[in-house]
Structure formats: C-alpha cells, structure tokens
Subunit: 141 residues, 4 copies
C-alpha cells in the first residue's frame, strides 16, 4: 500500500536561506509513517503500549528542489520491506500541482523492546500487525 | 545565584525572516535551567531518576531585538522563587558585547510525580535539592 | 472572527517526559495565525511580498494539561486587537472531545519593514488587509 | 582537516522514546560544519554575504546507538571532497568517554547563487575559500 500525507509548510520549518530547513523532511517522513500505520488499522501509539519501539537505523534523503512557507506538500510513503526484525520505507515528496518530486528518501527501522532496547520479533509480539505490514509491502519503483 | 549560559545561534534556529525563530528562546531558557541545576551540584536527569518531573506551568517572553545565525548569545538565568511545589526563573538574553538585552522572560514550573503527573513535594522527595534551590533564590531585578 | 486550526501531535514534538514539548505550542499558534490570515482572503506569504514582516513582540502561554503523540488538537485563534502598528491574538488549545482547554496563550506582533526592520504602518502599506483585520477583531473572552 | 564539535544534548532534542530524536543529528552536523568553516578562517555567514548559499543535496546517516538528555557529544566532521561546484562531509558522533561512534553520516552540498538558486562556481566567486577547502580535504576513513 502507498499512503499520501498532506501538509502545509510551517513558518518555523523555514530557515534564513528562505526555504524549508532540510531536517524537517525527516519529521515529515515520520508523520507519513504515522498515517501509514493508521491506514493499517492500528497506531504507532498502540504499538508502543504493547512494549515495542521502532527506532531509526538508517535514513538517506535527496533534496532535488526547494519548498517554502505555505507550500502544500504531499509525502508519498511506501513500505518496501517488512520482516520480523525490521521495516523499510521509501518516500517521495511533491509540491501541489507538480509532477517532479522535490525530495526522495528511504528509512530503515528496527523493532526493539521498549525497556531493554534489544531486538524484538514483531512476528511474535504483534502477529496481526506483522501480517498487516507484510501484506502492505509494495515493490520499489 | 545567577548562571550565564553561552551558546551560538544555529542555522536551523533561524527562519525565513532572517532571524532566530521565536520558539527557540524557550529551548535556550531550558538549556539555561539545565546548566543552572548542574551549578547546584545535581542534574535534572538525576532528579528525573528520583521519579520527579518539572513541567512548565507558564512562560512569558518579550522579544526586544533580533539575533541571527552565528551570533554569540548569553542567557542569564536567575531563580526567583522556590517552594516545595513550584519554581520560578527569570531570564535575560544578550548578544555578545552588548549591554541591552535582546529578550527577557519568566517561567513557572511545577514539581510532579513521574508516573502520576500529580503534584509532588520537592521538600519531601528531594530535601537536599530543595534546600539548595531555596538557598539559590535571588531577588528579582 | 475566530478560526479553529486542527492538527495531530507529531512524534518529534514530544520529549522524554512523554508529552508535547512546551516550545511547540508557539509553533502551533503560528500555524493558527497562518490559517487565520488565509481566512481573511490573503496569506502571510503575500504580505511578506509587499515588504512587510510581523515579528513577535511578546508571548505568554499557560500549560494547563498535557497532550502527546497522535492526540488530535484544535487551536482556537482569536484576533483581539489590530492597529496600524500592532496585532494581538489570543489562543485556546483543546484536545479532541474535551471541553477544558489544555493551553491558553496570547501574542503581540509588530508590523515592520522587511528591509529596515523599522516600524511600518499597515494602514498605509496594505490598507485592505488593515481594514480586514480591524473588521475581524473579537472581544476577549 | 578534521574538526571536533562538542555539545550537550538538550531536553527539547529528546522524544518520548526517551532518546534523542533522529532529526537532530542533521542539526548537529550543521553546527559541526559551522565550526569547521570557522576553523578555516571564515564563516558561513560571511560566505552568504558574498551572495553564495550551500544547500543540501543529499544526506545519509546511520543510527548505531542512542543518546539522551545531558549526554556530552562530540561530532567529528571531515571534509572529504571539495570542487568548484560541491562539497562532501563525513561525520562520526561519539558519546563522551566512548570509542564506538553512536552515529555516522555523510552529506553532499552544492554552491548556488543566493538570488537565483542556480549553480555557482566557488572557485570564481570566492577563490580563497575554495583554495582553503581544497587544502582541507581529508581521505575517507
């Protein structure tokens, strides 16, 4: 499954270069994962209540074109890998009405226990979510 | 006691107005309280380990002059009230080499239990820190 | 006029206290002013293009109850004063389905020239926006 | 040349997972580049005054171990490529007293004209800075 998250660039997200500060794309990716997870019928908050966390292992992101305050943005989020231990997402960020992405990225996440921060098996700890994620995996574009 | 915290404005802290975004002054106040607490021989991290949190109740801040990227900033932090239940701090922010503050502020904080978020008595839960805070109170300027 | 802005708390907006970090309320107020301005038929971006900026002079905010990740939030924004030189807004922040605000605040803003940062008369520089703002002023609650 | 930037994790930089939110490493890399540039006898602010900007083209970052509030952090910044059109930096982030990095990363930056955002030749526009950067390039580890 692919989910599109819509947001409007905040003034606080710009910097004195006049454009969106690059670190905010990572926050937008995170908001996209939040909505992606809700689309699966659960929420990341509920997953945390089961004692699981999903910290970042790796992010890469390419900045192709700038955007700025009040621009209407779509973050396309695609799950490209889901195992018992890890997830990988790909992202494409678009300005409203434009076909060429302004940013593309990829992130890799672990499943760990909330208290120990040690690897946890999503398959064992939350089998329904695991099945939903596996079913939602899309091929990479 | 009065503590001076020194920092340099980060690029990410500016916005497209060309100056420091106003929300960052609250983060600088917090960094100043961190250093103030360490000056008393403890740390806010250690206080949290005792099961206490100190959430904000109220902040007010006046923006008098702008500052921007790479400006060297001093945050003067003064504890003006300390009871078993609350603390109040005053702040004056200066640009290096200038006498007139660019920002002034005040914050009020509660002591609460980490698990219940209910009011907690610092006097009972951490009597040494309470005594150190009371001794550190300065008159307002 | 009163405008209600709806948002969902982002993971990045929480801190290790488990709740929304207090500085983010200022960013939410700003997002509410953005939407308020659009409701008047213009946008803050367009105002900047006319050579005007509206920097903060003063903010005060009271934190009444916490909120956290994925909470659905409404920021009620009310313009309470509009002169040629300044604006004042009041805010009340609500969690979905609750009647008691979790946060209240007030901000005061100047109108300045983009290049000189000196006071500018909105009445002279953008008479239509000035008239729209004056007409939108609400009594304080 | 290699530059080490020292900082202490801010409370606002943590999230409700209890650790530093991953987007902040990008802000720390930026602070490290600021100090790296000053070490060369100039400053990024001065470069901007010459009409040049250095926006991000690409970042990748690996999160190896967590860190949290009040941890003392060193960001090792190494320039690994400098041409008339681009720069590349590598980073390793350490917790005080530990030998194993908690994070590693790499960023690639363009030189563009401040007004047009079109590619600019650093060699032509700021030959002294260009020479200083070329001389500062280190082999990758």
């Amino acid at each position: 499954m692919i989910h599109n998250t819509h947001l409007t660039v905040r003034y606080a997200e710009t910097d004195r270069m006049g454009i969106t500060h690059h670190a905010n794309y990572l926050v937008w990716y995170e908001q996209a994962r939040t909505e992606f997870t809700r689309m699966l019928g659960t929420s990341y908050g509920q997953i945390e209540e089961k004692g699981l966390l999903s910290p970042l292992l790796e992010i890469e992101t390419k900045y192709l074109l700038p955007c700025t305050y009040e621009d209407e943005i779509t973050v396309e989020c695609r799950l490209v890998k889901a195992t018992a231990a890890q997830m990988e997402f790909c992202y494409r960020v678009f300005k409203k009405g434009e076909e060429k992405p302004i940013n593309t990225g990829r992130s890799r996440h672990a499943w760990v226990d909330k208290d120990t921060f040690r690897p946890a098996s999503l398959k064992k700890r939350a089998p329904e979510l695991f099945a939903a994620l596996v079913a939602a995996v899309e091929p990479e574009e």
